[in-house]
Amino acid sequence: MFRYVSLITKNALRNRRRSILTICSIAASLCLLSLLLAIYNALYLSDTPPAQARRLVTRNKISLTVPMPVYYRDRIRQVPGVVAVGVNQWFGGIYKDERDPNNFFARFAVDPDALLTIQSEYRIPEDQKEAFLRDRTGCLVGAALAKRLGFKLGDKVLLRGDIFPGDYEFTIRAIYEADEGDDVMFFHINYLYESLPVGRRDFAGTFTILIDDPDSATSIAKAIDSLFENATVQTRTETERQFALSFIAFLGNVKMFLFSISAALTFTILLVSANTMAMSVRERIREVGVLKTLGFTSRAIMGIIVAEAAFIGVAGGIVGCIFASLLCAALRQAPAYLQIVSGLRLESYVIAVSLLIAALIGVVSSFVPAWSASRTKIVEALKFSG
């Protein structure tokens, strides 16, 4: 096979304009396909980061929007395998002007001590940690958020509450860095409780739980839920990743969306590639006759044509992947309200799968023209005029 390599490349470059156009066309579709694969991979297949694998989230069984009594925290803490439990309450509210989506960011009222234990992957200078813990009206913001809105240590942040009415003023005491999710603001839940009437204080939106062993996540989650099985307020505990995925599911049938677009794309590439190969084989029937006269077997001829198609497909795939990785890099810079794509990376095996698809499409698309060309009788092939 390898002795034909130069013949194959010569053939592929013979009609340069056509090859380049085909490569561009395949590249465009494949760029998109690999991007979709990367999104799918990031959402459903990638490994959970070790810190996240040790976290569970408990919410009210009825829905996330209905709070639970805060004393559940102490009961959850007694479940074997649980290391720490923190309260999390979505604050909502409005920062500056709600009409500008750039002003939107997630803000949670939390147990500051528990937060620092549970989110162990957050990188915060020790002195800032201290300052945040000491100041009841202090807040902790992510580095990406600080960059986006120009927050600095010591700045005041004013939020207008909606779920919890009133104006809340915070002082930025610490800024954390993290590989993912560094666009959130956290503040002391006691500050929130104190602003509310006594009877309305003891609630928790969700509990974030740190466990000792990621492998026992399912059994610990079950143990927590069974604690409250007969209580008025029942709970639902899942891993932090499942919890995050439920938000993706909320957007709609994302899997179906990714799948149908990928199918349409693959089929488009197949059409483009088949079209090109049919055209280029048709032009060369006479050459096939010559090759056969020289003693090339039908199988060799078929192999040469199929390999040419695979070559063009892979070339398109490589260009496509280059563009896709550029797009990924651009998407990582996207504002945080497009959070799903913030950690998007074109993993090497996604690239491998894309290139494999490209090569396969080349082979499949050229199979019919290659087969019929290799079957043409020498005399007919030599007689053929384009």
Partner: protein, 388 residues
């Protein structure tokens, strides 16, 4: 003089495989675009069909959604006797105090559960929603743990079928009826008795919002102004229509993604069309030479090949439209971040959408055909005749 169109049509027919494959490529691109547009259009239609033109939605100051709003019975008493509020046949002011919350139901698509809106309301609230018609069962009775579900809820969630039981608040609620409100968002809601629901959630005093009907179209604006500026009530008021219209934004991510995908696919199809047209030009070099000898100008050759490309892409566009037509009327649901719950709606393919798809295809064809056509037009007669 122009070259007859039949020349191009015959040529496309002659090379039917190539024509078909190129057209199919364009068709898929158009189909993806149309599917997304049909989805966004369906969503918009659902929101536009929601809300009554005379209704004003009253929430706590600063609230952007009923879910985060709080509205007390005291506020409601003060609101009830504002000027400009319509009265029903019995002389009662048409004002409805409501409680909105979200419950999580398992569906066939999402066994982990999807959020849906549960609304507690009074008989007046039901009366004010004239468009909600009962299609099965009966309305709930005040004081009982009974719910009536929108028809999309009934069809999408197995637990919410007529006779089923839903578990929220402090226990089980029986599904006693199914309602249909045309295309309105009410189809994605669950209705229950206000007093029963609010006591289950410990919210007997702090409910969510109030819905008010103005006497006529002119009073609506006045009523909104009056409520907004009432310092004692401290509420924000907006028309119900306006409230739902602002939720159309929940389709924005899908729309953005869909258009992004379509544009990249269009680039690919454009190159493919170019390829096909270049092949057509080079195969017909001798014909082009002959046409020139016969006296056709360069301009008419350019026009002829460009036209051929347009016909090719239009064919693709038409196939694309045919491909997406079966989607029309299929129900789907997407998350609405304002209500934090799912809204179900039908894909809707409108004539405008079809026109957009065909225009998109034609633009694609024009871009893909321009270079090959100008290449054909620039050919020298003698060299063209000598080419094989």
């Amino acid at each position: 003089m122009a070259i007859p169109v039949s020349y191009n049509l015959r040529n496309l027919k002659e090379r039917r495989m190539t024509t078909l494959m190129t057209a199919l490529g364009i068709a898929l691109t158009v189909a993806v675009l149309l599917a997304v547009l049909a989805l966004v259009n369906g969503l918009r239609t659902a929101f536009e069909a929601s809300g009554h033109p005379l209704h004003v939605l009253v929430m706590r100051k600063g609230s952007t959604s009923e879910l985060v709003s709080n509205f007390t019975r005291q506020q409601f008493q003060d609101l009830k006797f504002k000027a400009g509020i319509a009265r029903d046949a019995a002389g009662e002011p048409m004002v409805s105090l409501e409680m909105v919350t979200v419950i999580n139901l398992a569906s066939v698509d999402a066994p982990d559960g999807i959020n849906v809106t549960m609304r507690g309301l009074t008989p007046m609230g039901l009366a004010m929603r004239e468009n909600a018609k009962l299609v099965a069962g009966r309305w709930f009775e005040p004081g009982k743990r009974e719910v009536v579900v929108g028809k999309s809820i009934a069809s999408r969630f197995p637990d919410a079928r007529l006779g089923g039981k839903l578990r929220f608040g402090r226990g089980d609620w029986e599904v006693v009826g199914v309602m249909d409100a045309g295309r309105s968002a009410i189809n994605s809601e669950i209705f229950a008795d206000l007093n029963q629901a609010s006591s289950d959630y410990n919210r007997s005093e702090a409910l969510s919002s109030a819905l008010v009907r103005a006497t006529d179209a002119v009073t609506v604006a006045a009523l909104v102004n009056d409520l907004e500026s009432d310092k004692r009530l401290n509420v924000s008021a907006r028309t119900e229509k306006d409230y739902y219209e602002s939720q159309t934004q929940s389709g924005a991510p899908v729309q953005f993604l869909g258009i992004f995908v379509s544009i990249i696919m269009a680039v690919g199809s454009c190159f493919a069309a170019m390829n096909t047209m270049y092949a057509a030009v080079s195969r017909r070099a001798r014909e082009i030479g002959t046409l020139r000898v016969l006296g056709f100008s360069r301009a008419s050759i350019l026009a002829s090949f460009l036209l051929e490309s347009l016909v090719l892409s239009l064919l693709g566009g038409l196939i694309g439209v045919i491909l997406v037509l079966p989607l029309n009327g299929i129900t789907t649901g997407i998350g609405n971040f304002v209500t934090f719950s799912e809204i179900a709606f039908d894909y809707r393919i409108s004539p405008t959408i079809i026109a957009i798809g065909l225009t998109f295809a034609v633009i694609l064809g024009a871009l893909g055909g321009l270079f090959p056509a100008s290449n054909a037009a620039r050919k020298e007669i003698l060299t063209a005749l000598r080419e094989i």
